[in-house]
């Protein structure tokens, strides 16, 4: 066998190992299991899915759906443990609403009701608590969703970092939506709704660990207006949408390439990134494609409707810098490639390890 053939054979073996569902073999939970990358995926595929065995759960969409007499109900739940609880551009209360309504939105459902569960640490300043409850109320009003049920628990000092919040949202899937995590089709264009990486970088700098000061604000915002515009412009030609949160755009693309058994090619020089985010990421040696977003979606749109979808997206306030950043290809299956604008191509893998704990 020639060296090239041996190489190709080895790469096929490696790719086969890479595409197998992860086996959860770790003896302990580490922060990497919460980072939204490959360790999180292994925890889900290797422990949660095989134990819970839900067919709809196995789709690993941002929200679960079930058919009811009057339509399809979407449900999503999310916990928020961000540290610090206030950061430039937002706070935990705002995230707790936007995070859950966005998970519903990218599944084509406008949130109609939320539950709010709070775990508070003994000694939490009432002023801080009041501010966060107010932030929840204001964000819910902005997203036009009502909090209809809730719960509070208090734990001893030292057992929670101020406060944790869990929200669950429900909504009806819009009649225009034909979305699926397995829906990516070769030829689809990949749209991103604005500059990426701002939320994660804002949190990282807000921790004051790096002595870097930069005017970076979280992008936390409700995504329904963007989803609404996309569905209006392209309807069933929008094959899938994803909220690119933990693990960033890179991890979201990998999850979908795997679920749809297709490849994705991203043109790196087209990916919008705020200048300050790009500079901070460069200094810290982090690729913005792995940094979390809280108000950015990826949409996969059939080529005939991609132009109209992009134009519609750009007309939505906050999405003016939406961009077409790549396309879906048939091969290599389950893999994301980046064209760095330099001739060659490279693999864009899932996030490995944990560069940025507790961002949401």
């Amino acid at each position: 066998m020639s060296a090239d053939a041996a190489h190709a054979r080895k790469l096929r073996i490696v790719q086969a190992a890479h595409s197998k569902p992860g086996r959860f073999r770790d003896a302990h939970i580490t922060m990497a299991h919460g980072a939204g990358g490959s360790s999180t995926q292994t925890l889900i595929e290797g422990l949660l899915l095989p134990t819970l065995q839900g067919e709809r759960l196995a789709e690993l969409a941002d929200a679960g759906t079930m058919a009811l007499a009057g339509g399809t109900l979407a449900i999503s739940t999310d916990s928020f443990v961000v540290k610090p609880i206030r950061f430039p551009g937002g706070s935990i209360g705002e995230l707790a609403v936007n995070g859950t309504v966005n998970d519903l939105a990218v599944c084509g459902a406008r949130a109609c009701a939320l539950t709010l569960s709070m775990i508070l640490e003994e000694g939490l300043d009432a002023v801080e608590l009041r501010a966060e409850v107010t932030a929840v109320a204001a964000s819910a009003e902005r997203a036009e969703v009502e909090v209809i049920s809730g719960d509070t628990k208090v734990v001893e000092r030292g057992h929670a970092d101020g406060m944790y919040i869990c929200t669950t949202g429900v909504g009806l899937v819009d009649a225009r939506a034909r979305l699926s995590t397995a829906g990516l089709t070769p030829g689809d264009h990949v749209l991103v709704s604005g500059p990426v990486g701002s939320h994660g970088m804002a949190i990282m700098l807000a921790r004051g660990q790096f002595s870097i000061e930069a005017p970076i604000e979280s992008d936390t915002a409700p995504l329904w207006p963007a989803v609404d515009a996309l569905l209006d412009a392209a309807g069933p030609d929008v094959h899938c949408m994803r909220d690119a949160t933990r693990g960033g755009v890179a991890s979201a693309l990998n999850e979908l390439a795997r679920a749809s058994l297709v490849g994705v090619v991203i043109h790196e020089t087209d990916v919008p990134v705020e200048a300050a985010v790009s500079a901070a990421a460069e200094l810290l040696g982090i690729d913005p494609l792995y940094v979390a977003n809280e108000g950015r979606l990826l949409a996969f749109v059939a080529p005939t409707s991609a132009g109209a979808a992009l134009a519609a997206l750009r007309a939505v306030p906050g999405c003016e810098r939406a961009t077409d950043i790549g396309e879906v290809v048939a091969e290599p299956e389950g893999m994301v490639l980046v064209d760095p604008g330099f001739g060659g191509r490279r693999v864009l893998d899932m996030l490995a390890g944990d560069p940025l704990p507790r961002i949401c």
């Binding site: 190709a8 003896a27 490639l337 760095p340 893998d349 390890g353």
Partner: protein, 371 residues
């Protein structure tokens, strides 16, 4: 962003690449070693190998500081963190490097106080903020990072921060290069020289390579255009029969290096008689320890460390990868048992490690199968 994006211009890169075939003799192969892990990273990130003419092959060198640390050294750090109740501060890459006792990340999950820092000064700040705790900085790296450790130790002494010490694992660039050049199982035609080390030691410090081994060196920057231009300069030297040290990274590197950085290293460190390298074995006078004058801040003197020599796992071929004898994908556990998430060897951990760079960025290059 200015001063980096200019050096990533794709059109300029393709222009440079187009000049290379004219410098290559038909049928001849050229093996060029990029010494530094930073170069390995850039080569895979920008797909530079794909731009090179047939016959020009890049071999990855031993210049990844995380990769060359032996397992015993990682065990020392884990023992410190687990048993001595210290705050152990280290760079992020170090946290996932496996020793025989697991990784620092796992030690942290079990309660050890391990903190990721971006600079030794961050570790010193932790010591200032925790006067009741011992804080140990796990110092790694070549001459590139040794000066910042030296200045931090100097500041700790000047400010009287008694609870701060350093587990010094700094290494030097010349001994492993000599070991490689002396080894019979590797034939190289030239070196892409380490730009960041050279900012400290000066390009002149690589004069031994053309002088003693008759191989050309071009000290290179880390952006893709830097690396391509350095390859062009090496091929031009080989084509014209020249053999010398040249500087491509002129915006940063001088012949003399940085005298103040060298003086700080001289003051704070002394040479170790021997140091164990992963893949290269024990090399004489190849690493630094904290000098007598700074012994109060030396973790090796302050704490009892196991200091045990641990053999690499039998299936791990990091040593051969580090010596450039095999390519990452030729390792028997590459990408199957050994992945960035669950690494067996250190080369799969650091983004500068050849295996991690290849796994993360390069593994799609699918040549047609010829049977």
């Amino acid at each position: 962003m200015r001063f980096s994006h200019e050096y990533r211009d794709g059109a300029l890169g393709r222009g440079l690449a187009a000049e290379l075939p004219a410098l290559v003799a038909p049928g001849r192969t050229y093996k060029l070693m990029e010494v530094c892990g930073g170069h390995t990273h850039a080569i895979y990130r920008y797909g530079i190998q794909e731009l090179l003419p047939d016959g020009v092959e890049l071999v990855h060198g031993p210049g990844c500081p995380v990769c060359v640390l032996p397992m015993g050294r990682v065990d020392d750090a884990i023992t410190l963190a687990r048993e001595q109740d210290v705050i152990l501060a280290c760079f992020g890459d170090m946290m996932r490097v496996p020793g025989s006792l697991g990784t620092l990340l796992e030690a942290k999950a079990l309660g050890a106080d391990v903190r990721m820092v971006y600079s030794p000064l961050d570790a010193l700040r932790i010591a200032r903020e925790n006067p009741g705790r011992q804080v140990v900085f796990f110092a790694i790296g070549f001459e590139t990072t040794a000066p910042s450790t030296a200045l931090t130790l100097r500041r700790a002494r000047d400010e009287g921060i008694a609870n701060f010490s350093c587990l010094c694992s700094h290494v030097l660039i010349e001994p492993p290069l000599r070991a490689l050049l002396d080894s019979p199982d590797l034939t190289l035609d030239g070196f892409v020289g380490p730009g960041h080390v050279a900012t400290v030691v000066g390009a002149g410090a690589f004069g031994f390579i053309p002088r003693d081994y008759a191989k050309p060196v071009v000290v290179s920057g880390f952006e893709p255009l830097d690396v391509l231009q350095s390859i062009r300069m090496l091929l031009a030297q080989l084509a014209s029969g020249r053999c010398e040290v040249e500087i491509q990274y002129t915006r940063v590197v001088t012949w003399e290096g940085n005298p103040r950085a060298l003086a700080a290293m001289e003051e704070v460190f002394e040479l170790r008689e021997h140091f164990e390298w992963r893949g290269l074995g024990s090399l004489p006078r190849s690493a630094l320890r904290v000098s007598e004058a700074y012994s109060a801040h030396d973790a090796e003197r302050r704490f009892a460390l196991p200091g045990v020599q641990i053999a690499d796992p039998r299936e791990c071929q990091c040593g051969e990868v580090l010596r450039g004898v095999i390519k990452p994908w030729e390792c028997r556990v590459f990408g199957t048992a050994c992945t960035p998430e669950r690494a067996i060897g250190a080369c799969m951990v650091s983004p500068e490690g050849a295996c991690a760079a290849y796994y993360s960025y390069g593994r799609h290059a699918r040549e047609p199968e010829v049977v």
